[in-house]
Symmetry: C2
Subunit: 234 residues, 2 copies
């Protein structure tokens, strides 16, 4: 970060976002984006020097950001060989969804009994954004709003550590999720299911909400499985 503005590359589409206060956070965001958008694809080795130069930072904050991503399961690491974008096998994907099932069921169950009006309204707002993005066909915006929708609900569980773990699991499959939203039929279904879940939450029907959201996940995982074998092509 010797110069205020770097050149354009991985960091190119950094539209109107303002830069985080530390290089490390900046790099973290850019790396996440690069992975979730497919700019860096599963299995790709991460060359530190090239990437550091592209982002216009030194290798030090880059390496720390990579350690964070390693902890989140987005990249793997081999001593003296470097970091690689995690390549999820079909088994890995199923395992991630199984874990999410176990954790989210409990979180949603608790959230249903505790969620307040503000949180419900926040979820409704997120849902409105989901529908908006879906109508516009903006897959990325939809994924982001969708994430907000679910996280808002989960946070009502009062289990912050659990939510953090779920969020991490969620992120680890980001690279594979966009394919799901690409399909218009799936976008429709997501909207329907969200509406049903909101309805059940408003009525404090915990088990109903758990059931609907479990089905919601199941749909996603089967759809992703269908296209998985091999990395998601660019």
């Amino acid at each position: 970060m010797t110069t205020p503005e770097g050149q354009r590359g991985v960091a190119a589409e950094a539209g109107g976002r303002r830069r985080p206060p530390t290089a490390q956070q900046f790099v973290l965001e850019e790396l996440r984006r690069a992975i979730t958008t497919g700019r860096l694809r599963p299995g790709d080795p991460i060359r530190q020097e090239a990437l550091a130069e592209e982002l216009d930072v030194s290798r030090v904050p880059l390496r720390e950001a990579l350690k964070t991503l390693q902890g989140e399961g987005l990249v793997t690491y081999q001593a003296h060989r470097g970091y690689f974008v995690e390549r999820l096998s079909l088994g890995d994907l199923r395992e991630v969804y199984l874990i999410r099932e176990l954790l989210e069921a409990e979180a949603v169950r608790r959230a249903a009994g505790r969620i307040g009006d503000e949180a419900l309204r926040a979820a409704e707002r997120a849902q409105a954004e989901v529908e908006e993005a879906a109508a516009a066909g903006d897959v990325l915006a939809m994924a982001e709003a969708n994430r907000r929708f679910h996280m808002t609900i989960l946070e009502a569980s009062g289990l912050p550590r659990m939510v953090r773990m779920i969020r991490t699991l969620w992120d680890s499959t980001d690279a594979y999720r966009s394919v799901y939203y690409g399909e218009p039929a799936n976008r429709e279904r997501v909207i329907e299911e969200h509406r049903a879940a909101l309805d059940l939450l408003r009525r404090r029907d915990a088990e109903g909400a758990v059931r609907v959201l479990a089905a919601h996940r199941a749909h996603a995982v089967t759809a992703i499985e269908a296209v998985l074998p091999g990395a998601p092509q660019a």
Copy 2:
């Protein structure tokens, strides 16, 4: 790591262990040990320069190790303020055990149906070490053997990611677990419960094993809760 042998401090009791191939891994091990043994106590700030000097490494590998520990929840981090040993509230502790309950129940259930003879024998060996350490009153050795016992069983689940998460959760409460083993009555109970679990696993009684191990955890958490308020005193 300019000199082969550093001075004595956090790294002092590095008995007969051989040094890992990279400074970062070495630091990671030492930090974990320092936290679990109480050499670094919950809430303590981690001064990088002092610690780096004590371990005879530069701050670079230390910072990367701290990032790893941050991901595992053993330390917290605030930009420009540094790292602190995580201080678990009572609520946090309960949450960790709740998550473990959800994940381990499923893992044990699967493990019971899949565990092979070698894994069973490995668990039995670990259990023998647990009993040995308990008899000798060696709390640290007991904690380590105990960990091997449980991990051996969990690994039979065929869910490596889940096991990794459980291991991380396990580690995050290390600082508080030693108090449990300190009590001879608890040591006795642990041994009994392990034997019962092994027996049920041999008979492929999944639900029985799940039940016994759930009770096993419940005992531990209530015992730890009793002494928790405030950090575990040195």
